[in-house]
């Protein structure tokens, strides 16, 4: 049987990229680093108690009293396990990855909703991005961006972006045809149609995409810690490598609490508007 050296081709391509776009990757790296550090600085400068109260208040407001109380208690528990700083590092990474996924994903989703050709091309690409074992992204990420939080963020964006693209496109395509016709019949331009009708009506679906993206980002926490992203992933890794079951459990519990808090809040954002 003939062996097709696909792996070699990928290596050649990656080499070519690093040779020719070193400056480009350097720029991205710096920008990402600055963003992550910025988030981290903000999250860790705000005092623990205040941060817990802010989260609890937001959760209470969008998702009701129960979720608000749960959020307050959960975050307080994280603090009492002395994992607050690690949690805020992780939250900074997740925030950065999610923000980038939205900035790229929403316009891409809008474009995809308008073009059947692009839709046909992107669908398999998105499936690929999401089903490829996430570890695989670590290699090129490290290759281009060294170790640290930046390659972690990049791998996370690639893995976590598909839902936002897909659901933005789906949400826009689901806007009833008559409503689009109505808007056009009153003389909307295409941007009026987009901003006054399509995006608002697609918003619950787009927010569902945001929710999935955040959860997928959190699922990358441990994986990206393997390339030095730090945060809660690091705590879990330490638990594994040093056989410290208690530490591993606490780190894992903190990830779960953060995930539940972010999930409940974003989920209810979507439902409020529906």
């Amino acid at each position: 049987m003939v062996r097709i050296p696909l792996g070699d081709y990928v290596e050649i391509f990656i080499d070519w990229l690093t040779d020719n776009f070193a400056g480009f990757f350097e720029g991205i790296k710096n920008a990402l680093e600055a963003t992550i550090n910025g988030f981290e600085w903000v999250f860790s400068t705000i005092p623990f108690i205040l941060m817990v109260l802010i989260f609890a208040a937001i959760a209470w407001k969008v998702a009701g009293r129960q979720t608000g109380i749960f959020t307050g208690l959960g975050l307080w528990l994280i603090g009492s396990m002395e994992l607050w700083n690690a949690t805020m590092q992780t939250f900074a990474l997740v925030s950065t990855a999610t923000a980038i996924a939205l900035i790229i994903g929403i316009p891409l989703g809008i474009w995809m909703s308008r073009s059947n050709t692009l839709d046909k091309i992107l669908r398999p690409v998105l499936d690929f991005m999401q089903t490829m074992p996430a570890f695989v992204y670590l290699i090129p990420a490290v290759y281009f961006f060294d170790l640290g939080p930046v390659p972690g963020a990049v791998a996370t964006v690639i893995f976590a972006m598909p839902p936002v693209v897909r659901l933005t496109s789906l949400g826009i395509r689901q806007v009833p045809k008559e409503v689009i016709e109505a808007s056009r019949s009153f003389g909307s331009t295409s941007s009026q149609l987009l901003y006054k009708v399509q995006i608002p009506l697609a918003m619950p679906t787009i927010l569902a995409g945001l929710n999935q993206t955040i959860l997928l980002s959190l699922s990358m926490v441990v994986i990206s810690a393997m390339i030095g992203s730090g945060g809660l992933g690091d705590v879990v890794l330490k638990g594994i490598t040093q056989m410290r079951i208690g530490l591993g459990f606490e780190g894992g519990l903190a990830v779960v609490i953060l995930a539940m808090v972010l999930d409940r809040i974003t989920q209810n954002l979507g439902q409020k508007r529906a």
Binding site: P176, E178, V179, E181, A182, S183, R184, S185, F186, G187, S188, T189, Q192, K196, V197, P200, L201, M203, R273
Partner: protein
């Protein structure tokens, strides 16, 4: 100049519509074209014009091309060929910005499933067209408010569309169209999604709004009763072709072909045919000036037992009977005023047979058809009502 003029409009769906045009001109049918070329004919050579203030109804069975035709008028669907003139300006050839201007200023559309924006309050829905035009908040609010009041939804400004019943939602749809002050309303099966009672109510309301506003309305329906009730003129479509255009009565009286005849044969004529088309000419009237003797002579000539009395403007005064008249002549006290019975049942020319039936049954005399100044237009006998229902009235009305 007509408000809307449609000239030889075609719409063919498929990859190469232009190639299909010659086939249609040769008379190939929609079915053959679909089989041979896979193209679907939506509209086939439609031409008509609609005057300012007219209510023009397009009706036909499902798939006959009504929705396609009405969407060609504002180019929600791009016609394959032909012209659509709005106030004399061809919109098929015009550029994008002109089209947007025309959509904003000249026409507004009402949709079968209301097509409201679910995330906006009622008032913001109604103001949508104005917002698109870039009108400021104050003006939007004021005009939207007026339009809401016009359709009887005052007090619902801050409700959300899902909180309203279907009928109310369609009032919102109508208000949204009225708020822009467009002269032309395009209504695609606007009442078809409503249940029958609400539907009838909306029809009545549209008619009474139309009296006030005199819009040019193009109204699509697949329901003949609705078409006959609200249409000034009706176009009947089949397979993309307009097979007949006429007033409701013309279409009932002279169906252009078998298709139309089948359509109209089940119509309840009592709900369509009006007093104007079954009334007899009022030949035998007597002027109050002419006096009792002339009246008696006329009655004898026509061998009738009573006669209507009018003044010199032909306005109805009342009726006198031959018995009372001959009595007066015998007593040499001729005075038409004394024997004049002013209690005569009158009707307007657009009264439906349905409404005439109880009147004609309860009245001792024939009914008199009068215009708004009580001028006599014609007379309706019991027999003419009956003939009108079964469709055999002769045409001297």
């Amino acid at each position: 100049m007509s408000k809307v003029e449609v000239k030889n409009v075609y719409k063919i769906f498929g990859p190469t519509p232009q190639n299909i045009l010659p086939l249609l001109e040769k008379g190939t049918t929609k079915n053959e074209i679909l089989k041979k070329t896979g193209h679907s004919v939506g509209v086939n050579n439609a031409s008509f014009s609609v005057e300012q203030g007219e209510m023009f109804v397009v009706m036909g069975l499902s798939g006959s091309g009504k929705s396609t035709l009405i969407r060609c008028l504002n180019r929600l669907i791009e016609p394959t060929a032909g012209q659509v003139l709005i106030d004399g300006q061809d919109i098929v050839g015009c550029d994008k910005n002109t089209l947007i201007e025309i959509r904003r200023k000249k026409m507004a559309m009402v949709f079968q499933n209301f097509a409201l924006l679910p995330h906006r309050t009622i008032i913001d829905n109604v103001a949508f067209g104005l917002e698109i035009q870039g009108k400021n908040q104050e003006e939007r609010k004021e005009k939207a408010q007026q339009a809401l009041e016009l359709v009887g939804l005052k007090g619902y400004e801050e409700s959300m569309p899902t909180e309203l019943s279907g009928g109310m939602q369609q009032r919102v749809g109508l208000a949204r169209a009225l708020a822009t002050d467009a002269d032309i309303l395009l209504m695609d099966e606007a009442f078809s999604a409503l249940d029958p009672l609400i539907r009838k109510e909306m029809q009545d309301e549209l008619l009474s709004l139309q009296v006030k506003m005199q819009k040019t309305i193009i109204f699509i329906t697949h329901d003949l009763d609705e078409a006959l009730k609200i249409g000034d003129r009706i176009a009947i479509m089949k397979d993309g072709v307009i097979v007949q255009i006429g007033t409701p009565e013309e279409i009932l009286e002279n169906p252009a072909n078998e298709y139309v005849r089948e359509f109209v044969q089940d119509v309840n004529r009592a709900r369509v045919v009006t007093a104007a088309s079954i009334m007899k000419r009022a030949d035998t009237l007597v002027s109050s000036k002419e006096g009792v003797r002339v009246a008696v002579r006329k009655m004898k000539e026509e061998s009738i037992s009573s006669i209507f009395v009018v003044n010199k403007e032909r306005q109805l005064e009342g009726i006198i009977t031959i018995d009372d008249a001959t009595e007066q002549i015998k007593n040499r006290k001729e005075n038409i005023e004394k024997i004049l019975n002013r209690d005569v049942q009158t009707v307007s020319p657009d009264t439906l047979i349905e409404e005439l039936i109880p009147m004609v049954l309860n009245s001792r005399y024939p009914l008199v058809v009068v215009d708004e100044n009580r001028k006599v237009l014609g007379i309706i006998f019991k027999a003419s009502v009956l003939a009108g229902i079964i469709g055999e009235e002769d045409s001297d009305g």
